[in-house]
């Protein structure tokens, strides 16, 4: 009996860790696959944008970025030489030249003399011209137009060609964006807006969060609830009333109707509810014992805040700083409304969107513009990201 029961048990005992191992591996593979898929999904559009940003504007308008590595077939036209270009070779009148512009690497596969049939004749095939004479074009685009009688035309007739065109990559879009009028000024404007608009709300929010977390006063709970409630107020709704109030106050005190002060205050106000909410939740999680022992040693609230709470909250402060900086840097609406978009005040996002042109015809510049404007947020993110992860975990693991 025992052998009967033992014999199936033995393989089971060995099989159990194996299947657990298999399960673990399947789980991990599935998780990794899902991760890979998500990463691919997120990077796919960015990769497309990156490729588009280095493509030639003409090719970009014709085909998608995924075709960027394939040779494309293009049709083109060129004017032949005029009578003034002819040479006399043993009684034969010859006009020769190149139908392709200098510096192009096309391979001509067919030529034609009407736009309707641009590829009617093969390469090297003699083409009878309407103005008289015989034209031959080779693969490189070099042509030779010969006639027994002198040419008399003053305007070179057109020939059409079908050519295969290798992919063209260029940094022209980046050059246009970086050399656009006032782009440097806009960069500075954006920094002028973003730095104070990040520091000021953090400063205010840290004080407020400490008070709401560790100072007891009547109505504290209601105050927290109101601040959380403010998170859902759509800022678009409040733009005009706030601007009107600001303009009224500023003009009374002899200030400018629109300006940096206004945009700093606006960003501070729009950022504060989230900042206070995040920081308060983090500070509430700090160990009560430290505060109490400090209090017993006679520390004031301000001392506790500066010497203990601030350093301990650094991850939360840093992660909020990233949030706020990214939002302010990428913001267009608030800056346009509170700062205006006069040339000297335009922020980077505003400058880039104006590069589109009056009728939106220069959209290829936006692809490069997106990467130019990404540089600063990337620097900020990578220099603060180790705090970012810790800050996101804020409050999830209670320290004792």
């Amino acid at each position: 009996m025992s052998t009967v029961s033992a014999s199936p048990a033995a393989p089971a005992a060995t099989a159990e860790p194996a299947s657990a191992f298999a399960r673990l591996r399947i789980g991990r593979i599935a998780a990794n696959l899902a991760l890979l898929l998500i990463v691919a999904l997120w990077t796919f559009p960015t990769a497309g944008l990156l490729i588009s940003s280095v493509r030639d504007a003409d090719q970009l308008a014709l085909s998608g970025w995924w075709t960027s590595l394939t040779t494309s077939e293009a049709t083109g036209a060129a004017a032949l030489g005029t009578a003034a270009d002819q040479t006399d070779e043993d009684g034969q009148y010859v006009i020769s030249g190149d139908i392709l512009a200098d510096g192009t690497s096309f391979t001509v596969s067919a030529v034609g003399i009407t736009s309707r049939e641009p590829g009617a004749f093969g390469v090297g095939e003699p083409v009878e011209m309407r103005d008289g004479g015989i034209l031959t074009v080779d693969e490189t685009g070099a042509y030779r137009w010969t006639s027994a009688t002198p040419f008399a035309h003053e305007r070179g007739p057109r020939v059409y060609y079908v050519a295969s065109e290798p992919p063209r990559f260029t940094f022209d879009n980046y050059v246009s964006v970086l050399t656009a009028n006032g782009i440097g000024q806009s960069f500075i404007n954006s920094l002028t807006v973003a730095i104070p608009a990040t520091v000021v709300p953090i400063l205010i929010a840290a004080f407020a969060a400490y008070a709401l977390a560790w100072m007891s006063f009547p109505g504290r709970g209601i105050l927290v609830a109101i601040i959380v409630g403010l998170l859902v107020v759509p800022l678009q709704m409040s733009l005009i009333p706030i601007l009107r109030i600001y303009n009224g106050i500023a003009l009374t005190f002899g200030g400018e109707a629109k300006g940096y002060l206004g945009v700093w205050l606006a960003h501070t106000a729009f950022g504060l509810p989230l900042a206070i909410f995040l920081l308060r939740n983090y500070m509430v999680g700090l160990p009560r014992e430290i505060m109490e022992s400090a209090r017993m040693d006679g520390a004031t609230h301000f001392q506790i805040f500066v010497t203990m709470v601030l350093p301990l909250s650094f991850p939360a402060l840093a992660s909020f700083a990233i949030f706020q900086f990214l939002w302010v840097w990428n913001d267009l609406l608030v800056a346009l409304i509170f700062l205006g978009s006069q040339d000297t005040e335009l922020v980077l996002t505003g400058r880039l969107v104006n590069l589109l042109g009056t009728r939106g015809n220069n959209w290829e510049l936006l692809t490069a513009g997106a990467f130019v404007s990404m540089i600063v947020p990337l620097i900020v993110f990578f220099s603060l990201q180790r705090y970012f992860v810790r800050g996101l975990l804020a409050g999830s693991v209670k320290g004792g």
Binding site: R116, R158, N247, L336, G340, L356, G357, T358, N361
Partner: protein
């Protein structure tokens, strides 16, 4: 055969220098410019000083924004006023916000008379005075239709001159490729009958006559309104056109329905338009003329205003790659003359100051117009009869400018003057519905119904 080879070469040469500099190309005291008008202006306003801010619809740099900067730079130089220019893709909305919040620019420039009428009714615009009206009537070709364009009812209910028209566009143009026309032996038609005969001939030759694109984001449908307006001017009297714009002539009147049907006879035939009728409403208006330049050509003609040349492929030359002809009148309606449809931008003072008033005076000088006329690659046209047409930077512009100056009947874009809900709403959508299947009568009834509901 190719009448404007030289012009093509010179525009190309100008285009090449365009990237090098703008205002610097024009040196004070040199060329065929009316410098004496600037001297006279400087004598009066030379020691003004101060600040002036502008809010404009222009953002192309190089392009209309830099050309406008050149115009302003001579004002700065003459008066010592320092200026700031601004614009954004939603300039209409932002102008509205700034006016509502009380912080508008000194000078606001908009192409929509309907929107300015709203601002005037809110009391946001400054009355430019009767002498401005008199000046426009006297100095602009078809002056009274231009001054009427800037006259709105103010907050007090009195009609006054609140805006000054500057920078005009001609809409009655049909663009084509002279090379393609030559190859197929087509001639530019002189009459509407001839235009339809040409359309049929192109089809008989296996080609597609028209490229029409109505897509324009939130404004999809507006190119069709230009068609209807041009056809109205060619089939009905100017008085009927005015009555139509003010809805004294109902939108579903047989006269209007007839114009819509003529448009339908063109776009509702798959063989007439590149991509077929289904593509008309979905093709971007800026992309549709590119069919003229493809090899083989997707179409032979494209009707659009003068500004469309800025959408043509880089390096294409006026005169050989593209050209335009005036959309001809019907031979059978000879008494209607040669009507011209146009549009333009209007300059208004939204925050009054001495510098802003002086700027309006500056716009009355021929030199303010000539500086922009001479800018390479511009689409600036002016109805100012005192400005020297020789300074236009290309023959194409000069011909368009002359169309403007010689119009026997000039009418402003009707949809821009209709109430916003119609001219920038149901007229657009009604035209899209019409192209996509509604009958002319149904579309007209639908638009009239929305007008009745105002």
């Amino acid at each position: 055969m190719h009448k404007t080879l030289l012009a093509g070469v010179s525009t190309l040469a100008l285009a090449m220098t365009a990237t090098a500099g703008f205002a610097q190309d024009i040196v004070r005291g040199e060329g065929d410019f009316s410098w004496d008008s600037l001297d006279a202006f400087e004598a009066e306003y030379g020691d003004l000083g101060g600040q002036l801010t502008f809010w404009t619809p222009w953002r192309d740099d190089p392009g209309d924004a830099s050309q406008w900067r050149a115009v302003v730079s001579f004002f700065e130089e003459a008066t010592g006023v320092s200026t700031q220019l601004g614009s954004s893709p939603n300039y209409e909305e932002q102008a509205r916000i700034d006016i509502a919040a009380g912080s508008p620019a000194n000078i606001t420039i908009l192409p929509q008379p309907g929107l300015l009428a709203e601002f005037a009714a809110q009391g946001a615009l400054t009355d430019l005075g009767d002498d401005a009206t008199a000046w426009i009537n006297e100095n602009y070709a078809a002056g009274e239709s231009w001054s009427a364009l800037g006259q709105f009812e103010g907050q007090d209910g009195n009609v006054a001159q609140y805006a000054f028209p500057f920078k005009q566009e001609v809409k009655s143009l049909i663009w084509y490729s002279p090379v393609n026309f030559d190859e197929m032996g087509y001639e530019v038609p002189e009459t509407m009958e001839g235009l339809f005969a040409l359309q049929d001939q192109i089809k008989a030759d296996g080609g597609t006559p028209w490229c029409v694109g109505l897509e324009s984001g939130g404004a999809t449908g507006w190119p069709a309104t230009d068609w209807i307006e041009d056809l109205m001017l060619r089939t009905q009297t100017p008085e009927d056109y005015d009555a139509w714009v003010s809805n004294e002539l109902k939108f579903n009147d047989p006269k209007v329905v007839e114009a819509i049907e003529i448009f339908g006879s063109i776009v509702k035939d798959d063989a007439n338009v590149a991509g077929g009728t289904a593509a008309v409403a979905t093709t971007a208006f800026g992309d549709s003329p590119l069919g003229l330049f493809t090899i083989p050509p997707q179409c032979y003609m494209h009707k659009q205003a003068s500004f469309i040349a800025s959408f043509f492929p880089d390096g294409s030359e006026a005169g050989s790659d593209y050209d335009f002809f005036y959309m001809p009148p019907y031979e059978s309606e000879a008494d209607l003359g040669r009507p011209v449809l146009g549009s333009g931008t209007l300059i208004s003072i939204t925050r009054d100051s001495d510098a802003a008033r002086a700027f309006i005076e500056y716009l009355k000088t021929p030199i303010a117009h000539e500086i922009w006329m001479a800018q390479p690659n511009s689409s600036f046209l002016t109805a100012h009869t005192g400005a020297n047409v020789d300074v236009y930077s290309s023959d194409a512009l000069r011909q368009q400018g002359e169309i403007l100056l010689e119009a026997t009947t000039f009418r402003f874009d009707g949809s821009d003057m209709m109430p916003g809900a119609i001219g920038a709403g149901s007229f657009w959508t009604g035209m899209v519905d019409f192209v996509n299947g509604l009958s002319a009568q149904q579309a007209a009834d639908q638009i009239q119904a929305s007008w009745d509901n105002l």
